[in-house]
């Protein structure tokens, strides 16, 4: 029923926008001197500030233009800008031919080259992913990121499942996530990269090792920033998909600016639902067995497969921003309200052996926010942006099974009226808290070749919990608070006619925290640290460049790591911040071989030396006698060395092929067993249960106007490879007892048919089409073969 409502809403929006009175239109095509279509070029009506992007055929389109004289400006990465003035009285057409500007080619690993992004040429090791080419796919952010070099996302199941994100071998909390430069935790616990659909996202930036200070954060291994569709003038993107496992996903992204009054509105929303009832498979090669008791309960039978039966997931999010733009005192000033709501059933524990049939979690967050940006503040060259929000977060974990055990046949065993599945007794645990965030940025262009950036971030996180079933047991109550201040200062230069670009930066981290658990002494701590780094790039030739970056980074313990959450995590107030020295060195080539052939190659190597490494292991012990607790400890750390390679070849708009391979070897860097004089036997050994060689290929073949004018038919084949890896320390134990997770080859195909220059898009997609058994984390099986159908409506008015 909800799905129907959602679909109805989308079509109401569609109708409203379609019925808007039309005046006149402007369209055309942007091509290079070689007559090659330029995709993603920005076409701007200077007088109204309306913007359109060219599609894969180089075409753009404006609607509802008031007749008059306009200056049209075209910009595209790697080309000189062009302007032309035109009087538009009725529907008009205007084509542009751009000249190549090799000096402007960016020096980063880029998938798609549509947005002229200053970040790319700062020397940081960054993947910039334009999501436009994925817009018709039924994917979320994680699935796109998983195709990128050096990134490994280890999911525990289907839609909405928990996941571990790894960048160049550092994973989990060592990586930080942002939405529009704001830490994702500021948006409440329900916001996650595996439920945000691609259609509300414009671009994703993945920083590896060294993180620019504009992302004011404490991250050890990297950061991911997703830039949503905002401030685009007038645009609408609506999509809905339906697929296997009763999966429904909808997304809406609407941007609207009234040119005269400057009134400005951004609306983003999504809805996800899935039963996630995919088949689990018996897999002796990985020592995974789906055991169910024999009828006489004297032993176990092994099922060849079984459907998941308690893994439903539902989430929705709505974000509305409204305010003004293009005022004297503000380029943008908006207030916003974000609401997200999640429902998630739990199917397994930390491994598939623990089958859960009754535990679920609900959460919701309400987040008012304010955002301000001014490009010229008091003096030339000085700009600022401010952001503040207040996330009010609530979640409930309900564990009231009354059964001792569930098996993979979905049947419970042994009724026990007081029994929970996570704990030995029933519980309904409530968590509530808030996250306050304030962020300020000042940029000053001191001269043409020098600029300074200052960033400040304040974050206060508070959380308390209690058990509704056992409210008098204060051992389950906790109230915790962590405050963080992070200050970043960056100095950038662009020398030798902008061929050599460098950024030197420092970061100051300060945090304080306290926990007040009933009956225990209040625990306080306060510390500060200083990090620093350098990023530089140099163009050897217009097509070829080299880049290097370094950061001495810190990551502060989180609220849950320090103080626990009363359910799965037992706190460790003695945790120290972890730190790492991160080095990157890369070489890149971006070559337009001839008008139709284009080749790009990126090779890079990296080294990480992480100390005081915060790592989660099962808690050594706890008084409740339950094995579900985990604790975070400081370990000696790991060293990671690796290399990655990516190449993309494209032939006009007909073919595009990308292949990449990532190698990373993470080894134990702790010489002695902690707290002892004993040499550690795993010193310099590769960390087990961690993929160390993986890659992807992606082939897109498309043809315009094949089935009618202004249509495009596109075929996509995406393959993912993960080499076999050891589940244990491979040198320890008798060889006959060790085992490896077998190599994984996952194939996905899709076909998209677009009409009216991409306004209406229909996609049919098959994932894991050969139905291979796939694992990411601790042998938790991911979905097998699935099929989905997606409809997308996309319109840039403008």
């Amino acid at each position: 029923m909800c799905n129907l409502k959602w679909a109805l809403c989308l079509f109401v929006f569609l109708f409203i926008f379609r019925s808007h009175a039309q005046q006149t239109t402007l369209n055309g095509q942007v091509v290079s001197l070689e007559n090659r279509a330029i995709a993603g070029a920005t076409v701007k009506l200077v007088q109204t500030q309306q913007i359109a992007l060219t599609d894969s055929t180089g075409r753009y389109h404006f609607e509802k233009i008031t007749p008059g004289s306009y200056t049209i400006e075209v910009n595209s990465l790697g080309y000189y800008s062009k302007q032309q003035t035109l009087r538009i009285n009725q529907n008009a057409s205007l084509n542009f031919v751009l000249t190549t500007n090799n000096k402007a080619l960016e020096n980063v690993n880029v998938q798609g080259k549509s947005i002229a992004n200053k970040v790319r040429d700062l020397g940081f090791n960054v993947n910039v992913i334009e999501t436009k080419s994925y817009a018709n796919s039924n994917v979320d952010i994680n699935q796109i990121l998983n195709r990128s070099t050096g990134v490994k996302i280890r999911e525990e199941g289907g839609l909405g499942s928990n996941y571990t994100f790894s960048i160049n071998g550092l994973s989990g909390n060592h990586v930080k996530f942002f939405i529009d430069g704001i830490p994702i935790e500021a948006y409440g616990s329900g916001m996650s990269f595996n439920n945000i659909p691609v259609n509300i996202v414009k671009r994703i930036e993945v920083y590896k090792g060294a993180i620019p200070p504009h992302l004011a954060t404490d991250a050890l291994g990297g950061a991911v920033d997703i830039i949503t569709n905002k401030d685009l003038g007038k645009a609408i993107d609506l999509s809905y998909s339906v697929g296997s496992f009763n999966t429904h996903r909808g997304a809406a992204s609407i941007n609207y600016t009234l040119p005269k009054s400057g009134i400005h509105m951004n609306f983003n929303s999504y809805y996800n639902y899935s039963d996630n009832n995919y088949r689990m498979r018996n897999n002796p090669a990985a020592k995974v067995f789906l055991e169910v008791p024999t009828e006489d309960l004297t032993g176990f039978d092994t099922l060849s497969s079984a459907r998941r039966f308690h893994d439903g997931y539902k989430s929705y999010m709505t974000q509305l921003e409204a305010g003004v733009s293009n005022k004297k005192w503000a380029d943008i000033f908006v207030v916003g309200l974000t609401y997200n709501d999640n429902y998630k059933e739990m199917q397994t524990g930390a491994t598939q052996e623990k089958v859960i049939g009754h535990v679920n979690e609900t959460s919701n967050s309400l987040i008012p926010s304010i955002r301000y940006r001014k490009n010229r503040l008091l003096i030339d060259g000085l700009s600022t942006s401010l952001f503040a929000n207040f996330a009010n977060d609530k979640s409930v974990v309900t564990d009231t099974s009354s059964w001792n055990t569930y098996r993979w046949n979905g049947k419970p065993e042994n009724y026990a009226p007081n029994k929970g599945e996570l704990g030995t007794e029933k519980s309904i645990r409530h968590y509530s808290g808030y996250n306050n965030l304030a962020q300020a940025t000042l940029n000053y262009q001191a001269a043409d070749q020098h600029h300074i950036n200052f960033n400040y971030m304040y974050n206060s996180n508070y959380r308390k919990s209690y058990d509704e079933i056992d409210p008098y047991n204060h051992s389950k109550e906790q109230s915790n608070r962590v405050n963080k201040h992070i200050i970043g200062l960056n100095y950038g230069t662009e020398l030798f006619n902008k061929r050599w670009k460098s950024n030197a930066f420092g970061k100051y981290y300060s945090f304080s925290g306290n926990v007040a658990a009933e009956g225990e002494t209040k625990n306080n701590q306060s510390k500060s640290y200083l990090g620093y780094g350098l990023a530089s790039s140099f163009f050897i030739t217009p097509d070829l460049g080299i880049k290097a970056s370094y950061e001495h980074a810190y990551r502060l313990p989180t609220l849950v790591e320090l103080f626990g959450n009363g359910t799965q995590v037992q706190g460790n107030p003695k945790l120290e911040p972890e730190n790492s020295d991160n080095y990157n060195l890369g070489l890149f080539l971006n070559k337009q071989i001839d008008p139709k052939h284009h080749l790009s190659i990126n090779v890079s190597s990296f080294y990480r030396n992480a100390k005081n490494y915060i790592h989660s292991t099962p808690a050594l012990d706890n008084s409740s006698g339950s094995g579900t607790f985990r604790s975070f400890y400081n370990f000696g750390g790991i060293k990671v060395e690796g290399a990655e390679f990516e190449t993309t070849y494209s032939y006009s708009s007909l073919l595009r092929f990308t292949a990449n391979l990532s190698y990373e070897s993470a080894v134990d860097r702790e010489r002695y067993v902690q707290g002892t004089n004993r040499p550690k036997i795993t010193y310099k050994n590769r960390i087990p249960d961690k993929p160390w060689l993986y890659g992807n290929t992606n082939l897109i073949v498309g043809q315009d106007d094949l089935i009618g004018k202004n249509t495009r038919l596109e075929f996509n084949w995406y393959m993912q490879f993960i080499n076999e890896y050891s589940y244990n320390w491979s040198k320890l134990g008798d060889k006959s007892t060790n085992f490896y997770i077998p190599p994984q080859w996952i194939q996905n195909i899709g076909v998209t048919y677009s009409i009216l220059n991409g306004r209406y898009n229909f996609s049919l997609e098959g994932k894991n089409i050969t139905d291979r058994i796939a694992y990411d984390n601790a042998k938790l099986q991911k979905p097998g073969r699935s099929v989905s159908l997606k409809f997308r409506y996309n319109l840039n008015f403008i």
């Binding site: 070489l587 012990d621 006698g625 690796g642 290399a643 004993r678 320390w729 134990g733 006959s736 007892t737």
Partner: protein, 409 residues
């Protein structure tokens, strides 16, 4: 000329990058590893922890050479998912897996652990075992921590023959019985327990004994109460809770604050005389009183009325937070004489990491000594007759977790 040089340099650089990337990617697993030596069925085994997995290793010689997990033994982390749920008898290991709700029988032979049989096991409200007893060679009785429930498993047939609750008729309203120990005495069982108020979540601070008929498990009679120490028996499964000496049964209490909730009381031995089923009112051995108020855990019966305990030394100084119970170097091996009610000696080691492991063989005790100042865990031999300590085999690769020794024959 300069351009050519530049081109060559660039090419060389690019090739170096590619070569590095490809060679790195093709390099074999770094772990390498020594070639394992063939293992004859050993007399002893030891379980040690590493950062990522716990290994059960064969021991050929307790008193010389090296014992190492490199190329030998079995990673038992996915088999023994909860250390305290391990029960060992000879070459056979038994384990209740709380996650998978199964009871398994495993045999350590040819230097590796092999699965004999696993059966569904969800007969207890909690599968975290608090105590176990061998009623005979085939029948194993287990119960959860802090519970009145039990299950009996025939380990030859691998079948649960009986399960349920001990008779509740004398339990006051709102209270539950928490059984700490079950001791077989012919056709009777003695149980040690306390009473726990489910509403207030507190005990009435008394320790009780009761007897009941075996095998019917009926006719439960409370035989006494006491409040000088904690309830009778081990705190958790795996610690020495009682022992027989010349027909009398000595029962150790564990008030140590690792979940028992009697931390203000002393550790003590009680006694049940050979022809009786209730506590001897004339016997109470207050060990803490002789060790400056420290509390102890049971390790092993050395024979001749000597018992090896592990002493948590000066916990007020050493334990700042919960994990210190496991990480802090504060443990001392202590030999006590339960008849003479005196401390025989503290074994001459520095303060140790968490320890509870020793086996007795041919009258001598062998202890895996978790000394953080040494370059490895070593096996030490203690001869209680001569009161002599001798250093033995080196156990390489152990982390700070408790190393556990097992005698397999």
């Amino acid at each position: 000329m300069q351009t050519n040089y530049l081109k060559k340099s660039v090419r060389a650089l690019a090739l170096s990058f590619s070569a590095f990337a490809i060679l790195s990617a093709c390099s074999s697993d770094k772990d390498g590893g020594d070639t394992p030596t063939p293992v004859a069925d050993p007399e002893f085994a030891v379980a040690i922890g590493t950062d990522n997995g716990r290994y059960l290793l064969p021991i050929q010689d307790l008193m010389s050479g090296k014992i190492s997990p490199v190329g030998q033994g079995t990673n038992v982390s996915t088999i023994f998912t909860w250390e305290e749920n391990i029960i060992q008898k000879g070459r056979d290991f038994y384990h209740v897996n709380p996650d998978a709700s199964k009871f398994g029988k495993y045999r350590f032979e040819d230097g590796v652990l092999k699965t004999v049989k696993e059966i569904p096991f969800s007969h207890l409200p909690s599968l975290y075992i608090g105590w176990h007893i061998w009623i005979d060679d085939a029948n194993l009785m287990v119960g959860p921590r802090g519970s009145n429930h039990y299950a009996i498993i025939n380990v030859k047939d691998m079948a649960v023959t009986k399960s349920g609750e001990f008779d509740r008729k004398d339990i006051p309203e709102k209270f539950n019985r928490r059984v700490y120990s079950v001791i077989p005495r012919g056709n009777k069982l003695i149980i040690g327990f306390d009473l726990y108020n489910e509403e207030t979540q507190k005990t009435n601070r008394k320790s009780y004994t009761a007897e009941l008929d075996y095998p019917s498990l009926t006719n439960l009679k409370v035989t006494g109460e006491d409040s000088k120490s904690a309830p009778l028996g081990a705190l958790r499964n795996g610690y020495l809770g009682h022992l027989d000496s010349e027909g009398d049964t000595y029962i150790l209490t564990h008030p140590i604050p690792l979940g028992a909730g009697y931390e203000e009381l002393p550790t003590a031995f009680y006694r049940v005389n050979k022809n009786d089923n209730k506590l001897d009112p004339n016997y109470f051995f207050n060990i803490s009183n002789l060790l400056n108020g420290d509390q102890q855990l049971g390790v092993v019966d050395l024979g001749n009325s000597k018992v090896l305990l592990i002493n948590a030394h000066d916990t007020k100084t050493h334990v700042k937070e919960w994990n210190d119970w496991w990480y802090a170097a504060m443990w001392q091996y202590v030999v006590v004489d339960i008849k003479a009610k005196k401390i025989v000696r503290k074994l001459d080691f520095p303060l140790l990491g968490n320890s509870r492991s020793a086996v007795v063989h041919q009258g001598k005790a062998y202890i895996a000594v978790n000394d953080p100042t040494a370059d490895a865990v070593y096996v030490w031999e203690y001869d209680s007759n001569t009161d002599k300590l001798t250093k033995g085999a080196k156990i390489e690769g152990a982390d700070g977790d408790t190393p556990m020794l097992y005698k397999l024959n």
